[in-house]
């Protein structure tokens, strides 16, 4: 797993308009979904944006290969990178959580809530989600099943 780089002070390369448009439409267009996954993992609003930012910083150098893969959906790549960056984070200090959503997520192991949000919120298929996290599909389904059981017994309204 590669380490996430820290934010460069300035743009290190001048990108052409095609790159900029691709980045804007295909990557920034998924930013809210990535942010929700980041929150799911960290349970901290402060850490979430930092994680998202590091994810995109890590994606930028690979923009050309992503752009050339015409049929590829960028979201799994973004979530894979996010997952890798999350793995490199120091212990995240989770603030006091009062919302029903936060309480449900906190009650779940991080793998389970990652599987739940990847499949039931981000809309990835279980096989695709398994590839994102580097698990087998049966592993992902076990974690997903556990997370759904908790969700079904929760009082989320």
């Amino acid at each position: 797993m590669e380490a996430c780089v820290s934010a460069p002070a300035k743009i290190q390369q001048v990108y052409n308009e095609s790159f900029i448009n691709f980045f804007d439409e295909q990557l920034v267009g998924h930013a809210d979904t990535v942010y929700r996954m980041a929150y799911t993992l960290t349970l901290s609003l402060d850490s979430s944006f930092q994680l998202v930012k590091e994810t995109y910083q890590r994606i930028v150098p690979n923009l050309a290969s992503m752009q050339n893969a015409v049929d590829q959906n960028s979201l799994p790549t973004l979530l894979t990178t996010l997952w890798q960056c999350f793995g490199q984070l120091d212990q995240v200090k989770t603030p006091e959580i009062s919302s029903p959503l936060g309480k449900i997520l906190r009650s779940l192991p991080v793998d389970a809530r990652a599987a739940l949000v990847a499949v039931d919120v981000a809309g990835l298929g279980p096989a695709e989600a398994a590839r994102v996290f580097g698990w087998s599909e049966s592993d992902l389904r076990q974690k997903l099943a556990g997370a759904r059981r908790v969700l079904l017994t929760s009082n989320l309204s």
Partner: protein, 284 residues
């Protein structure tokens, strides 16, 4: 899928395939297995409950999204915000300039169309001023030309005034009845007749020759009124007004020779003598 499903306990299988079941994507052994688990106690309502809770989960997470300034931070990873702003300003300026140009082009086109319509209407409805027939100028020149080449410019060279009247009476396309002098002094003999077509007017021209010195006298008649001619010195005889004109070459006498027809007698004689010839030739 079979391998994956086989590796799962009934509980994990049931809960992890809920979405596929709701979407109708389960088939074969997996569908059969799911149905068997579903029939077990307390499971029948779970798929619909899952559908509702999944919706609530999605709704709850939708309240988490990036703020605009955070999104701008991401965009700034590939494009300097100042450069972007400059480019947008240039683009806005170009669009503004394009708008300005197209607005003026539309206005100019509208004005052109408007003028074209007005011009078209004016061309269609306003009376058109065609070429103007200037008898004194044209016929003075004509007399000069006929004097130099009488034979060549006469349609019908003849000394018989009856033939001349007959020729004019039968001339096709004349919109008026050309006049001839009823009598002229004996020394003036008819020489021939022509009809001069100026497009805007047809002029009957009868040429007389002085038998003593071959001097020429020209009697023109054409559609018009004496009042159309420039005002000039005039004399009245037998109720007819004669206006006299002079030039370097000729003297001219004009009179109303019947309704809507003007006669012009042109020659090198004095205006007084021309007036006498004209008055004599017009006498009833």
């Amino acid at each position: 899928m079979a391998t994956t499903a086989d590796a799962l306990s009934n509980e994990d299988f049931f809960y992890s395939y809920l979405a596929e079941y709701l979407d109708g994507e389960l088939s074969g052994p997996a569908a059969q297995r799911f149905d068997e688990i579903l029939k077990s106690a307390g499971k029948a309502a779970i798929p619909e409950h899952f559908r509702a809770m999944r919706g609530r989960l999605q709704l709850a997470l939708q309240s988490h999204y990036l703020k605009e300034d955070e999104t701008q931070v991401l965009r700034a990873l590939v494009q300097d915000p100042e450069v972007k702003m400059t480019q947008e300003n240039i683009r806005i300026e170009q669009i503004g300039r394009g708008e300005w140009v197209s607005t003026w082009l539309r206005r100019i086109a509208l004005i052109v169309v408007l003028f074209a319509v007005i011009g078209g209407l004016a061309w269609k409805f306003l009376p058109r001023s065609g070429p103007v027939f200037k008898p004194l100028e044209y016929l003075g020149y004509e007399a000069l030309a006929m004097e130099e080449d009488t034979q060549g410019r006469l349609d019908l060279p003849t000394t018989d005034i009856k033939e001349i009247r007959q020729y004019l009476g039968n001339y096709p396309g004349l919109e008026y009845k050309p006049r001839t002098l009823k009598t002229v002094p004996e020394r003036w003999q008819p020489r021939g007749v022509s009809v001069i077509d100026y497009d805007v007017a047809k002029v009957a021209a009868v040429v007389y020759t002085n038998v003593e010195n071959k001097e020429k006298l020209f009697h023109f008649s054409f559609i018009g009124n004496l009042s159309d001619l420039p005002s000039a010195e005039s004399s009245t005889m037998n109720g007819i007004k004669f206006q006299t004109y002079g030039s370097d070459q000729f003297n001219l006498v004009a009179w109303q020779h019947g309704y809507g027809v003007v006669s012009l007698l042109v020659g090198r004689r004095s205006t007084a003598e021309l007036f006498e010839i004209a008055a004599q030739g017009t006498r009833e």
